[in-house]
Amino acid sequence: MYQFAYHHPDNLNQAKELLTAEESKPIAGGMTLIPTLKQRLAAYESLVDLSSIAELQGISETSESIRIGAMTTHSDVHHSDTIKTKIPALSHLAGSIGDVQVRNRGTLGGSIANADPAADYPAAVVGLGATIHTAERDIAADNFFTALFETALKENEIITAVSFPVPEKAGYAKFANPASRYAIVGVMAVKTRSGIRVAVTGAAGSVFRVPEMEQALGDAFTADAVRGIAVSSAEFNSDMHATADYRGHLVSVMAARAVDAANA
């Protein structure tokens, strides 16, 4: 990696101030950024480490939602009793990310800001209809992920927390890349108080919802309701591990499994 200045502010204002400098970049868990820097695929004058900022930490519960600080690790989400009780599918999803080391370092905010097409969290954020809180505003999940590695965030806008409405039921099923264990296809199927949401990660350039499945599940929230629904794979990713066709097939299979998990 190239040399850079390293800052670790302990409050949000200080972080925002530091990030106004040229070629500065916030770093959360660093699970993508650090390998990228090590391979010299990116270089910054300064990195602003968000891990010491108390406002970005912690899991809190309101009557209808759970608010998770952006710098909460996957491991903390996975092990949280609150989340296990209220949104077990989210706990399960967090526990399926990467490996133990990644889960101990990687964070919710870092993951969704990076918007990797094969990351797990986008399925949860969109599937559960979460709200992304930044230092400046709130963004609805459906408006957050805009394209491959792109989000509605402005340059160096800091995510502070994500609020997940507590669903009636939810399930997540993932078909992991055998090598990287990223999602080749991951499906979050959710019965919310206001309707059904099905979100798919891994298959395309960005997380997306499947209206046909949502409609079918609205009629009957069963695995059989989605098993036969084929999604068009025309725009899907295709690589040596999975062709677009195979991904298309897996969306139906994983959707059915996600519904089974939600109903379990």
Partner: protein, 786 residues
């Protein structure tokens, strides 16, 4: 007291330092005034180098030197250690393998320039400032296409991409047998290209002492004496007495650290130029594009059978990928380590095999755990399985009908080997019993009720370890001897230092060899130390590969201990005023037969070094013996592996439900270490069969250049293994041992693929190439449904 003798499961003494982070690897070594190297590598598979502008780079902070190919004009190329001849007797094409690319790059990762700076970071920064002007050429990646007349030619002086066209066996007799056959089974298969991926990346430090003219190379090698020989004599022209090669703790090799690599010569040479140490440690991504790869065969095989399923003949032709240059032992892998194994465990009377070795714009390919024998086992055990299905004979029964019988040993195969001993049916029976072969149908039904497709597969492998004897391998093209060396040094107070030419890089030699020596001498296990890896300490050695360490290295130690005992008996006879023929040695004591006179091993050792009461006129003082052990033959471990898998028909995911291995390794010194070796081999075999593949795109870019895409087996990919052994002792080495390091990786891939194909038998699937990834299985399922 803990039992530590031959046959005891002694805990590995080396593990304490490994598990507590106290292992000393090359990268842990830092020398005074050490400079750091970064190697500029080709981003292209095939390109001419028009110019290299290093002026800006040379001005970068900390830069000590930048070298390109002209600087190495006085050095030889990286040598190849084995010559294979064509069918017509002419030698193989052996193009130069330069230390740094000379005017042309031939694979992604081919070294182009060497940058040395005060720090690694500075060297890397300067490397980025070197401006190299390339003209890309069409690459030759696919082996079949590389042999077509319109293919790009990788080595202009060769004129084509054919390295050699070789054959083994009686072609006419084989063809005649096929003409008369009741049934012929045909199969096309691919043995997938693999990356070895030892945990420790390669590293090298060159050092030069200008006061003595002595060079030292610290390197991650499986055979430091071989590196000293190859690099000293063929590349840098440094005589042995001025070159020390030291391979300290080495974190796994699996074959990839046998070979002499250009980086070793670069560091050694640069240290001499700069009069200071120079260090290089590979990054993981560098390992992917510069460590020798393994396997990569494309084969057509045919098996002829009579109406009872007796094998009448086998023939095959194989394209074997050599990569862009010939690595140290590459030519012998598809030939003498592959074609010679094509009889397997069977009495197939005639066999004919053609091998074309092909240059491609890829990383050089060489031996990887098993080296040729996995490829042979895979094609035999797959074609036998397909034949069983075609002839509607149980796969185990078909194998049984064709086994070489115990009373047929020594058995001459039609492909040049003589098996000394074995009992294949006993091993098959034991494996079938342990795996509950007959209970499979019930398990299949139970799986079907859960919506899973369950399959069973078996494989009966043979392998050849401890490649030897030297005169035979020399006649077959080896440019080195294949003996092993051991010095057993009894110290004055009776402790023992063993200097072995074998090299341990995870095998547990320090424990196993100490068990042998302490058992033979009747002394405390902790009184025996094993020293290896340093040409300054060990007299000579050929190193560790091909499962040769216990069979060849262990035998050398055995012979040296015998010599020590023989001399010690003479000293004991003198001390006890007896005739040497009356001296017996037992449990660490020399006794005069028929009396109660005895003297301890330690007293004899002390007498040897303080020879006040000593037969000086007949015997030299000291107690140290050296042996060069050159085996009479290979050893032939064999076994039966049985695997059961379940396939999820919705996703194509294959899960290995059970794996049983019954191996005949001959006598066993440490059963725990042997079991560990089998586990590791099985993990790599499962990796090859289900997970691992090295993929180049059409432009020769390495698509699987990191663990994001190259799938190494992990614990949750593996079942809990069940292993046991049978024993037919090797007849030609003193310990009766055969070797166990590679068996797991050799025998397991066909067992797994046979199980996968068995599970898919209702879907009209007769073969699936490795690795049987979920997508590939799903595609077969989809086609079968259609």
């Amino acid at each position: 007291m803990a039992k530590t003798g031959i046959g005891e499961a002694v805990a590995r003494r080396e593990d304490y330092r490994f598990l507590t982070g106290q292992g000393k690897y090359v990268d842990d070594i830092n020398l005074f005034n050490q400079a750091h190297a970064w190697i500029v590598r080709s981003p292209f598979a095939h390109a001419t180098i028009n110019s290299i502008d290093k002026d800006d780079a040379a001005q970068m902070p900390g830069v000590v030197a930048i070298y390109t190919s002209e600087d190495f004009s006085g050095a030889g190329g990286v040598p190849c250690g084995w010559q294979v001849n064509n069918k017509d007797g002419s030698p193989m094409n052996e193009p130069k393998h330069p230390i740094l690319a000379e005017g042309k790059v031939r694979h992604v990762g081919d070294p182009v320039a060497l940058v040395i700076a005060q720090t690694r970071q500075q060297a890397r920064n300067a490397a980025e400032a070197i401006i190299i002007d390339y003209t890309e050429l069409a690459p030759a990646i696919d082996m079949k296409a590389a042999l077509e007349p319109d293919s790009a030619v990788i080595h202009d002086e060769v004129g084509s991409n054919l390295c050699f066209d070789w054959e083994l066996g009686d072609k006419a007799a084989t063809e005649a047998a096929f003409e008369d056959a009741h049934h012929v089974t045909r199969l096309d298969l691919i043995n997938n290209r693999l990356v070895a991926n030892p945990m420790e990346p390669r590293a090298a430090i060159g050092d030069y002492d200008s006061s003595t003219g002595e060079y030292t190379l610290y390197t991650t090698s499986q055979n430091p004496h071989v590196i000293r020989l190859l690099m000293g004599a063929f590349v840098l022209n440094i005589p042995e007495h001025k070159l020390r090669v030291y391979a300290p703790d080495v974190g796994g090799g699996f074959g990839s650290k046998i070979y002499h690599y250009a980086e070793e010569a670069m560091m050694t040479w640069a240290a001499g130029q700069l009069k200071r140490p120079v260090k290089w440690t590979a990054e993981r991504s560098e390992s992917f594009m510069s460590d020798a790869h393994g396997r990569d065969h494309v084969t057509h095989v045919e098996l002829a059978l009579d109406e009872n399923g007796k094998f009448l003949a086998l023939r095959c032709n194989t394209l074997a990928n050599m990569g862009a240059y010939l690595s140290t032992f590459a030519p012998c892998v598809p030939t003498y380590l592959h074609a010679t194994l094509l009889a397997g465990q069977y009495t197939t009377p005639v066999i004919y095999c053609e091998i074309k070795a092909v240059f491609t714009n890829t990383v050089p390919v060489d031996a990887y755990r098993g080296a040729g024998r996995p490829e042979a086992t895979y094609l035999i055990e797959r074609v036998v399985d397909v034949a069983a299905r075609e002839m509607n004979i149980d796969p185990a029964e078909l194998r049984r009908r064709n086994f070489i019988q115990p009373d047929q040993f020594p058995y001459d195969t039609p492909v040049a080997l003589t098996y000394d001993t074995g009992n294949y049916e006993a091993t098959l029976d034991q494996a079938m019993e342990a795996a509950d072969y007959s209970g499979f149908e019930a398990r299949k039904r139970e799986a079907a009720a859960r919506g899973k497709l369950r399959g069973i597969g078996l494989s009966c492998y043979i392998e050849a370890c401890g490649i030897a004897p030297s005169n035979v391998v020399g006649a077959l093209g080896a440019r080195a001897g294949l003996y092993e060396v051991a010095t057993v040094r009894v110290n004055p107070t009776g402790s023992v230092t063993v200097l072995t030419g074998s090299h341990s890089h995870g095998q547990g030699h320090e424990t196993t060899f100490a068990q042998v020596v302490s058992d033979m001498l009747g002394i405390d296990y902790d009184a025996v130390d094993i020293v290896h890896g340093d040409t300054a300490k060990v007299p000579f050695g050929m190193g560790t590969y091909g499962s040769r360490s216990i069979a060849v290295g262990g035998s050398a130690i055995y012979r040296s201990v015998e010599k020590v005992i023989s001399k010690a008996k003479k000293i004991a006879a003198h001390l006890m005023e007896a005739d040497v023929s009356d001296i017996e040695f037992e449990n660490g004591e020399f006794k005069v037969a028929g009396t109660d006179k005895a003297t301890a091993f330690g007293d004899v050792a002390l007498t040897a070094y303080v020879p006040h009461n000593y037969p000086l006129e007949e015997l030299e003082p000291g107690l140290e013996e050296t042996s060069f052990y050159d085996p009479a033959n290979f050893t032939y471990p064999a076994g039966t592996y049985i695997c059961e898998v379940e396939i999820d028909p919705e996703t194509g995911v294959v899960e290995v439900m059970s794996f049983h291995a019954s191996d005949d390794f001959g006598n066993i010194i440490n059963p725990m270490i042997v079991e560990g070796q089998v586990h590791g081999g099985l993990a790599q075999g499962i990796g090859q069969a289900l997970l691992e593949r090295c993929v180049y795109d059409e432009q020769g870019q390495l698509l699987t250049g990191s663990y994001m895409d190259y799938c190494m087996p992990r614990a949750d990919d593996l079942p809990s293994f069940s292993v046991d052994t049978t024993v037919t002792a090797c007849t030609h080495n003193p310990l009766g041992v055969k070797g166990c390091g590679e068996a797991g990786a050799i025998g397991s891939p066909p067992a797994i693929i046979n199980a996968v194909v068995n599970a898919l038998s209702d879907y009209n699937v007769t073969h699936i190439d490795m690795p049987a990834t979920p997508m590939k299985v799903w595609q077969h399922l989809s086609n079968g449904r259609g």
